[in-house]
């Protein structure tokens, strides 16, 4: 293993935790290293207990770690909570009058005042950490320059250096020896959170309309769409509620615009009727659901995978849907494009199921490795609009695949009729039972076709063995690292990461599960919903579930420990 340093920055909301982590991310990258940021924050704007974990590595880092090597507590009151989380050989910093190792008293406020502004204590703290890591401060300067002008640039610049200078003078050199990152050449990666990656993926997938109502942790997706969307011609509108948001997306999609909404479980609950509408009207639309712990308001800023079954069967009546579950920012970028494309090709709602953990995970990525697929449109225009013998366009024409060529309103010579009632091929409402039967079958045929295009699960590890860990969505990288830990301990363990849960890759999973002595699901929920799903879809029995439902994500070491403790 190469370098693996876990920095934790803790403070009240409003104390600048994010600034520190942002500066460290960039300096670390500037020094040629990689990182993974986990965000842990409360549902409040000031005070409380927020933390970000920046795990630094010489290889790309894709999961967090529970114990910190370096803790910066911007608010010393939080020490009782965070200090126990500092691991063997680690150390902590806080602005306290005096302290014993592993805690060091750093006069952050004093340095900030000296730099010209008391609010820069966090930047001074950043300087301390930079010195410990031995990373160049210039990257931070560039950030300051990009963000602040004049005077305030100077103050930041000074505060950072005061921190580094203090560290040099007062911190034991052995700390630096332990954590110094050897010099490396840096590439030019970008910084991407799960939310950003998903939103940019949607844009790459040709999304041109987005509507939303803010809801943590889905709001971040909306922000990117609202801010970055215009440069690729997207129209964003904040809706009066979630019902309106999805209905607007469906309206826009009816005109042929690729459309998305983003929300969390509670907001999605309000979209359920409109989801069913999209199913009936065969309107392509993408819905990003970033899960958080429920029921109801639950824990608004924490993580959970408790809405899996809900999302799979949400909406009255029967209709096909696509549900993708990215496991990393890269996958979010990729699957969001796929959702945009398949939603239109199959004229179905496509869901992107993430959660607060993935939404707020930040990593560095080489942008050139991200695939940007050319947008293939599936809308018929002009001469390619098929017409019936009477010269009519049939929006819901019966076809073998179940997919009817989709034209959009405004096409000269035809009208496009869609209805929430059961309808005839031309879209007009009907109460005819034979038509009903054919239309049900037409819609369900699309589901069968969609199943043929399933994104296969990712399998890692030996082709058979004693343990199989299965997860979906955000747990991907944590499970992967857990596998590596357990493998190092001599276990033959493999993992299955599901990137798609509907249509379910039943054949693949059915084939894999029996090849291992014990098959477990790893789920950030209490009821083992994935295990149930596998049982339904594959008819194979899952031996157990490792659950976490306290609002926090799994971490590899703890997950490995869970496996051991349960004797699996």
């Amino acid at each position: 293993m190469g370098i693996d340093v876990n920095v934790r920055v803790a403070g009240g909301a409003g104390q600048g935790v994010h600034t520190v982590s942002n500066l460290i991310m960039r300096m670390v990258v500037g020094a040629g290293y990689h990182f993974h940021v986990t965000q842990d924050y409360m549902s409040r704007i000031r005070g409380g207990r927020n933390a970000q974990g920046i795990r630094i590595g010489s290889e790309p880092v894709r999961a967090g770690r529970e114990e910190a090597d370096i803790l910066l507590a911007l608010n010393p009151d939080l020490l009782p909570h965070y200090l126990p989380g500092v691991g063997e050989g680690g150390f902590a910093l806080a602005d306290v009058p005096s302290a014993d190792p592993p805690l060091f008293p750093a006069p952050l406020k004093e340095m900030a005042v000296q730099a010209g502004s008391p609010i820069l204590a966090n930047v001074a703290g950043t300087g301390v950490i930079a010195w410990v890591l031995g990373i160049p401060l210039e990257t931070a300067d560039a950030v300051f320059k990009a963000e602040f002008k004049g005077d305030f640039f100077e103050k930041n610049h000074t505060a950072l250096r005061l921190g580094a200078d203090w560290a040099k003078e007062y911190l034991p050199e052995k700390i630096r020896e332990r954590f110094r990152l050897p010099a490396r050449v840096h590439s030019r990666p970008i910084i991407l959170s799960g939310n950003e990656a998903l939103a940019l993926g949607a844009l790459a997938g040709g999304c041109k309309f987005a509507a939303g109502y803010p809801m943590t942790p889905g709001t971040g997706i909306l922000s990117v769409l609202a801010n970055d969307g215009p440069s690729v011609g997207l129209v964003f509108e904040q809706a009066e509620d979630e019902i309106a948001a999805l209905t607007m997306a469906i309206g826009a999609a009816y005109t042929g615009a690729r459309a998305i909404v983003a929300t969390s479980g509670g907001g999605f609950a309000l979209m359920v009727e409109a989801l069913s509408l999209a199913g009936m009207m065969e309107t392509p639309v993408v819905i990003a659901v970033a899960m958080r712990p429920g029921p109801a308001t639950g824990m608004p800023t924490r993580t959970e995978q408790g809405d899996l079954e809900f999302v799979l069967s949400a909406g009255h009546g029967e209709f096909p849907r696509l549900v993708l579950a990215p496991g990393s920012p890269e996958e979010a970028f990729d699957l969001a494009q796929r959702a945009m494309d398949l939603a239109e090709e199959f004229q179905v709602p496509a869901l992107l199921l993430t959660d607060q953990y993935l939404a707020d995970t930040i990593v560095d990525i080489d942008p050139e490795v991200l695939d940007v697929h050319p947008v293939r449109r599936h809308i018929v225009r002009g001469d390619s609009v098929p017409r019936s013998r009477e010269g009519k366009y049939l929006r819901h024409a019966y076809t073998e695949s179940g997919i009817s060529p989709m034209a959009v309103p405004g096409e000269p010579g035809i009208t496009v009729v869609v209805d929430s009632d059961e309808h005839t091929e031309d879209g007009h409402l009907t109460e005819d039972h034979a038509t009903r039967t054919r239309m049900v079958e037409k819609r369900l045929r699309k589901g069968a076709m969609l199943a043929k295009r399933v994104v296969p699960p990712l399998v890692a590890g030996p082709p058979n063995g004693d343990l199989l860990l299965i997860g979906f969505g955000s747990t991907k990288e944590v499970i992967e690292e857990t596998r590596q830990i357990l493998a190092r301990e001599g276990r033959t363990v493999a993992t299955v990461h599901l990137r798609q849960v509907m249509p379910f890759p039943a054949e693949e999973v059915s084939g894999i599960v029996p090849r291992y002595g014990t098959a477990l699901t790893v789920e950030n929920n209490a009821l083992g919903q994935l295990a149930r799903l596998i049982r339904t879809e594959c008819g194979v029995r899952i031996d157990g579930t490792i659950s976490r439902y306290d609002g926090l994500p799994f971490t590899p070491a703890k997950l490995a420990e869970d496996v051991r403790r349960k004797g699996w």
């Binding site: 950030v143 607007m248 005109t255 405004g410 869609v418 007009h428």
Partner: protein
Amino acid sequence: MVGRFDTDFENAWCPGCGNFGILNAVKKALEATGKRKHEVVLVSGIGQAAKLPHQVDVNVFNGLHGRALPAAAAIKMANPGLTVIVTSGDGDIYGEGGNHFIHNVRRNVDIALFVHDNQVYGLTKGQPSPTSDAGWTGSLQRSGVISGPFPPLAVALALGCGFVARGYAADPEFTADLMLQAIRFPGFALVDILTPCVTFNKKNTYDWYGKMAYKLPPDHDVTDREKALTLALEWEERIPLGVLYRKEKPTFEQLHPQISGPPLFERETPEEAVRTLLRRRQAVPG
């Protein structure tokens, strides 16, 4: 006579229903716009009124109960070249869809809203709607409606709606003219249309409306919002018909920086633009 917008779709309304007059007016108004069928979208929710779009040979989006407006607004945002008209019921627009009504008045997208205001839930067999008169006995409120009526025109005016009018199903010529004005008005335009439900509303009948309704005089000042508000609240003794208020202001489409240009479905996504967005997130500035 077969009109340009006629369809042969079976009509399921009760004989004598006010909706026939409204359908008639809609077709007249559409004729007058000179639009062709592919340029028009009729949007509705669910209810007897909401079935109207099926009777007109244009593009149709017959969505969920209460949800016509957000669909319509987005259709217009996505393709402003389309003429977008919502024609639906009082329960649909003011009841289930009340939140969309208030916020779409504010949004001021250039759409026209025709509400078939029969003061009852027709399709579900006679329950009171938001506009039912207090004391009226609907099928779920045997002891009479308690809530005060929802005054659509007054609420629209309070919300700053730029075009506020009232029509009457029994006078399709007159109503068609209001509709035409509403369609031509740049921005959100409301025409609430009194319309008897001959089956379930035995209070607000042709007779009753006939006695109560009067046309605003030609010299009514349509720019006087306070006057319009006073008129909009008239109901107990008489009910004004016509354009109560009209004032143009910039529409949503004009104010929204991304709407002008080609309709959304025609916009390309150059790979390079996406790459630029990615590169903008460069970890190390410069």
